[in-house]
């Protein structure tokens, strides 16, 4: 089983988390999903969701996928030095790091995207860009891949990226079969963002 570690914080965006979790979770024999936060316990958001998490310090092994969602909470977390330092250490040791929406700001803030290509939610582009001045920001993309780093546009784009990740590791048929199973219309062209703002 390949470990998927999902990091949460107060006011995460619901679908940034559970879109990719549905995609990876549908492959019950492949992926083992765990939820973490700064201190563990229940972590909530403005949609009334409260998720049980373990402390990030308990990620002692090397996750296959480290998933960083976005949401309004990222605006505070970029200034939470000790938490983003922990997120940095887990990102470094993880085989792949996937961010959705403004989750990219956390990865940019800790410098791991310096000199790399990345994207984010077009509605929050200026703010996220300000968190990583050395990042090669791609404005028109559903998601961007730069070696082990996958960064997606806003909210639902996380599902497209998760399916794109399966496409890259397995095959297009595999990703398409899964999309059909969860009845999701996959935007499979990562360079074409139907929601991009010119």
């Amino acid at each position: 089983m390949k470990k998927v570690a999902v990091i949460l914080f107060h006011d995460f965006e619901t679908l940034d988390v559970f879109g990719p979790v549905e995609v990876f979770g549908a492959l019950k024999t492949e992926f083992d999903i765990h939820f973490y936060s700064e201190k563990g316990g229940l972590v909530g958001n403005s949609h009334g969701v409260k998720i049980d998490t373990k402390p990030i310090s308990e990620i002692s092994d090397k996750p296959y996928i480290f998933l960083i969602p976005g949401g309004f909470g990222t605006r505070e977390e970029v200034n939470n030095k000790s938490y983003i330092e922990s997120i940095k250490q887990v990102s470094i040791k993880s085989e792949y790091v996937l961010t959705v929406c403004t989750g990219t700001a956390l990865l940019a803030q800790i410098g791991l995207l310096d000199g790399r290509k990345a994207t984010t939610n077009k509605r929050a582009f200026d703010w996220v860009m300000s968190q990583g001045l050395k990042v090669n920001w791609i404005k028109k993309a559903r998601w961007v891949v730069d070696e082990k780093y996958y960064t997606a546009s806003g909210v639902s784009a996380g599902m497209d990226m998760a399916l794109g990740f399966l496409n890259d590791r397995y095959s297009e048929d595999y990703a398409e079969g899964l999309a059909a199973k969860i009845e999701y219309s996959w935007h499979k062209d990562k360079d074409n963002d139907p929601f991009g703002i010119e």
Copy 2:
């Protein structure tokens, strides 16, 4: 604020819940979302998700929307007499009842769909049909509306139905604006299910 009551049970399908929750949750000033289960406390599924819930007995008011997701857990819950009786009572008093995927089986089992049109996940159609022999099952539909009852096909169809619900209560522009905000390609024609099985 309009109350959205979401019912959970062991092994609910992640996106059946959090797709519609993202849609209604994005309207922070309109909808107030609460999660319930048979006995309250943490309710989990095979995707590693554990959600904090209140007991269904605490729904003392009249929800505006009562959301019933699907998932493998429904196969057990259709036989959980006391729980589905509680679900029946809440369904009766709620202004609207929305089901996703095999969640429709719970509503069919308690007889509230008798003589009504409804749909469900096409991959589980035979089993769900067996739970409600007096239901007018519609095989080719993304979602079906019969007065206060909205029933959706599998998983992602729940988001299409939630946006369709906003279309019916507010306007098409309103639903489309929200879909764009969460970067979701809305299948707005409820009669055309791209994932239907002939």
